[in-house]
Symmetry: D2
Subunit: 259 residues, 4 copies
């Protein structure tokens, strides 16, 4: 089985990049499941809208994950629970709308997709290590394979979680930093790991934001409106091949860079 | 002209990896200058010792840069100023021992190597954007080419600085996160850029530290002694080719992975 | 000479508290100068408006200081420089509008009022210790007495600065945490010191914000609109008596608590 | 019933201050229970030792609470569980040695003492709001009165917790910032509240540490050894009077200042 995961889709340009490049990638790589982090997929890069989600589904994404920006749009809480194809970090408080994981049938197998957040850089939820233990104990009988989008800031927490989940998760793919890392590997117990899959969106900004604004903010520290950059696009993703025994046999980074 | 930069050399295993792999890399790629970040090159991974520095020089490194761990060893302050081949972040307070940049003759040209830190994730110095402006104004007449080791935590500050220095620095290479990023590029005004060059040291730890300790710390939060991991090694670096007009023509990541 | 300083005036209720209680305090204590931190004095508690400033002047405040919220209102940058009675943190970047200190004639003496921010908890400016050294060197010939509003988060940075400025500043009064501390004292070289003067505004919220919102945010971590609380009011201030030799002879906290 | 709580006892000087002043305070105020935060009571200010604990018991303290420094001494984990008079933050991971609360008989009544930490400034444990809900549900039948040492950094989290626990906890007393706040009050449902009780230790340092070291660190940011200050002492505490109906009738801050 093959999965394709796309990194943080950012703003209108990010959705455009998916629409522009995903169909060909699907034709070329024939993934059995396409997952994408959509926490910045709203037109202005803050959170997600139903319109953005629909465009991503139409382009071929099947499961959307989120992160610290999940609820940046005021009305997201009102509809998130209605769409079983979108998950937000599972280790948020029980009162938070939406679901933290979803289970889908793929080619006769059962795949769970789990979204976790934190713990150190974006500490919005309970400890994801402990949450994962409980999740695995409660649900591992219900799925064959497990994909984890681990949304976190620091390389230390991501690497530590990768090792921690090795052999339990099928793949642990980091999101949030918007820069793809070059450390894809298969851990000793068969888990596919990548510290960060990177961003899908404008190529010539800073994490998708207009670079002039970010630079000025690092200098004068005044409140600033972070607009999505324009210009060339990039798509960042990762392909994961899984054998019948549930072990990853290949993990390969993907970048589509304009310009 | 070609430069080779190696990422954070960590502990005794990191120095061993340099000794083991650098000579062949030099033979193969024939760099005109070899730079390495050595902020974790002490045997225990904390700071730098004269012994570690000597072993790195012997293996072929010519300039050593540092970071937030520069003064982790108690006696570093007493000798750092004596060795013109080692620089610590330049934007530290003027009372801090050592120098923040060095200028070397390479193949008839003059190359400045500058070390900067911060601003957001490891805010130990003055604003590196403003410091860089002043540095460039004061010293750009004294060098032909400028290498910057930008030691910082967040992808946002690194990318912003890369764009900021584009056309002034010859290369901006990030260090500190110990995970190599896959976003090497030549910016529009000719600056070679990479968000993080990655770590040289033990491959199966967390940033070079024994993974069991880091995992336990994320769970119980108790004070813990972070020992350097053992086992397989990795070397992380980047090659930068510079044309006579001072523009980077090629930037290529290097990884040597055991196991 | 006697100064009265009021702590962070928060929202419409904060301005109301000043209007309600300041005139009587002035009648009772006869301060020669009234200073107030107004970084939250806009109706919604975010930044400052001309209307809020005018109401505070009418009530008897003579100098307004600010802090990390100085530019929360979009148009503040456009008018701040026109009003010599308002200062924002002096150690911000030189491109930031407005002035960081002001000098006023009081009873035949010359009083400088300086606003500083940071360094650790709200690191928006350059190092306030170093900035203060330069400020004192450049300007101490121009004033007889010096009041410093040190806007910072942690007790460590505030206490350290108090000791650092002892004998140079006439008074160092902390702001920002919105809770008055009980550690007023006269330091050995004559400087009046208080870690935080506290908030002027709604008494039954959390730092002036509706408590239900803050509590919920600590539980579910979702984005929330922080509205100013209503109900009973409080005024927090400090009285500083200065002898002709420039040493503080008395420092006394003031609280006006409704309910 | 009357309780006396002393704030963070810091280093050898802190223990000396308790030995010197507590007996007279007990004679004068006749508390039924004496509690003290001892997270810095080791001779060097880092954590706690059995020797320090014994001296505090001898001086009249009956229950010791801790905080983020609980395990700074290497051997604390080995003996903490043996002493029922010391508690560490209860919302740490279940694998952490020691207990998080204790229940004592006082004058025929049953008093629970609970230690909590976090959530925002020192996020070492699980969410203390949620932990408190569960604790109260599980244990409130086992005690008549409940004292909470809420060890946290920010005024926002402490005030929010005070309001949250109002009517469930008998008293919520903050620790950790080492500066006493002046906001003692009885909340509407009868809970006695104080944001921070302050430090017991050397008066002329910065939070108990030699001021020269802390100042230098804010300037040069180099690693530094934080030694406990010497000179004049201070004791910081709070007295809480509780009626038979369990409501606080009086809360009064105490300071003993030498020099
Ligand atoms: Fe994110
Ligand atoms: Fe993102
Ligand atoms: Fe570093
Ligand atoms: Fe490093
Ligand atoms: Fe503030
Ligand atoms: Fe404020
Ligand atoms: Fe503490
Ligand atoms: Fe403490």
């Amino acid at each position: 089985m093959r999965w394709l995961m796309l990194g943080d889709i950012t703003g209108h340009p990010g959705v455009t990049a998916v629409v522009r490049y995903l169909p060909d990638l699907v034709t070329k790589h024939r993934p059995d499941l396409v997952i994408a982090n959509a926490e910045n997929s709203a037109q202005n890069g803050r959170g997600i809208t139903r319109q953005a989600a629909e465009r991503l589904y139409d382009a071929g994404v099947e499961i959307l994950t989120l992160g610290n920006h999940a609820f940046d749009q005021k009305d997201t809480a009102s509809w998130l629970g209605d769409d079983p194809r979108i998950i937000r970090p599972a280790n948020l408080h029980t009162s938070v709308p939406g679901q933290g994981y979803t289970i889908v049938k793929v080619n006769g197998g059962t795949v769970a997709v789990l979204n976790l957040i934190g713990p150190a850089g974006i500490p919005l939820g309970s400890n994801p290590f402990l949450f994962f233990d409980q999740f695995y104990k409660d649900h591992s009988a219900s799925f064959d394979l497990l994909f984890v989008d681990f949304h976190a800031e620091f390389t230390s927490e991501k690497l530590a979680f990768g090792w921690y989940a090795d052999g339990r998760a099928t793949a642990v793919i980091g999101t949030h930093t918007h820069v793809q890392t070059a450390d894809e590997r298969i851990l000793p117990n068969g888990t596919g790991y990548l510290t960060d899959v990177g961003m899908t969106g404008p190529r010539d900004g800073v994490l998708g934001v207009r670079k002039e604004t970010v630079i000025r903010k690092f200098i004068d520290q005044l409140p600033a409106r972070f607009d999505v950059a324009d210009g060339y696009l990039q798509l960042s993703g990762v392909l994961i091949d899984i054998a019948d025994n549930g072990r990853v046999t290949k993990i390969e980074r993907i970048q589509q860079l304009e310009g």
